[in-house]
Symmetry: C2
Subunit: 252 residues, 2 copies
């Protein structure tokens, strides 16, 4: 069940393999995933276009097309997105497939068909229409914003964390993990948490989601890149020990 | 290079497989790892004893023996501890081996021989002798204690994090990771960090170490146990969704 960290992974898959490539072929194997949108309209809008940017909001992914408009992807319970290097390959339960002119393609798979692939004129409007609250890892969604978002909500902490209209990105699995890390009873009423508990909840929410999204520093080698901004890591000596550091994120 | 999260793993290996078993045989294949302690003394103290508790402090592991005294383990650059189910098995670079009466044993391996296996009369005294600061994940080592520990230290943040006399448990790898997560330059002077940076540094230190130590909630199934206290997880419905929760840690 893809939640924020999983969708962040799909985002990187798309960003790393599918940007600025001309979409030569669009295949919709099961049009139910498009809802009311016709497969013909969908295909004609994407064919010949390039995806030029990708944005994640909560559990939704949006990719901007070079001639305007956005491809929108929601993963429901069992959806996924993967790059397939050759046309011959077809992952099971592929519902929508975009193949690029220079070979390789993107496969949206979904076993249970809960989820949606679509088109939107504007990403910000789409977020409003979907009634999504702030993304749980948005830089601007700080503790003050979090407090304001959950203030006075007279429901259990688990339901509030999972409510996409309050905070976008957290589902069943990560809500358990966050509450566990924060040592808070999932059934505790959100409006009755002590200030220290609320602060702990916010911190753990960020820490668990960031870490699970793999926003770690794994490329500890010459030429390694920052997992956040993809700039080259700096390698230098500090107090006699080698330090790896992102120039942009850490200002070194 | 074992740091706190790795040693926490060795602790679980020992706690899960080696407690309350009579040590029938002690083998020291390379006595250099014992320093000045003789292999004969070491073996005679352990033979016939049982390990009854295990404690980690920073990168050090200590196991209490039933007839008094502690076995102490330090892993240096390449040390490790693993349970071996049968006597026939011998991991490469095994330097010390304890075999149990009811089969199976513990193997301390160390390729580069930096590290130490020994005996101590008292765990608290041993920590003092080794000049170890507070363990980075000790419950009592809160933000106030962290601030007090690093206050006025006029050295770069990376060296301070790695100084075992100030905070025990962090080495070269995790110091980079923590500073990256906190967006702080490894070369920044610790005493010149802004209050907000210091707070972020502390939070990320906890979050990175806890998560890397695998103090997560992976056993989301009936009969699953809390990774912290090993009590049975409670499974119940909250707002229509299944919640997994530790009775003891989360009070549910």
């Amino acid at each position: 069940m893809p939640e924020l960290p999983d969708v962040e992974g799909f985002k990187r898959e798309l960003a790393g393999n599918a940007l600025r490539k001309t979409i030569a072929r669009v295949e919709v194997s099961d049009a139910r995933i498009l809802g009311k949108l016709s497969a013909r309209t969908f295909a004609s809008r994407l064919r010949g276009a390039k995806l030029v940017a990708v944005h994640r909001h909560g559990k939704h992914l949006m990719a901007r097309m070079d001639h305007g408009g956005w491809l929108t992807l929601h993963f429901g319970l069992s959806g996924a997105l993967q790059f397939v290097p050759s046309r011959a390959e077809e992952p099971p339960f592929t519902r929508v497939r975009l193949d690029f002119a220079d070979d390789g393609g993107l496969a949206y798979t979904n076993k249970r068909m809960i989820g949606r692939v679509g088109l939107a004129a504007d990403a910000a409007d789409f977020i409003v229409e979907e009634k999504l609250g702030p993304d749980a890892l948005d830089r601007l969604f700080d503790f003050a914003a979090f407090k304001a978002a959950v203030r006075g909500v007279k429901r259990d902490a688990k339901s509030v964390l999972m409510d996409q209209e309050i905070i976008a990105g957290i589902g069943n699995i990560y809500s358990d993990e966050i509450l566990f890390q924060a040592r808070i009873n999932p059934a505790a009423r959100m409006d009755r948490l002590a200030p220290a508990e609320l602060r702990r909840l916010f911190r753990k929410m960020r820490a668990v989601l960031e870490t699970s999204a793999g926003l770690l520093l794994p490329e500890r080698r010459k030429g390694g890149r920052c997992p956040r901004c993809r700039s080259l890591l700096k390698v230098f000596k500090v107090g006699g020990r080698t330090a790896y550091c992102c120039r942009r994120c850490q200002g070194c």
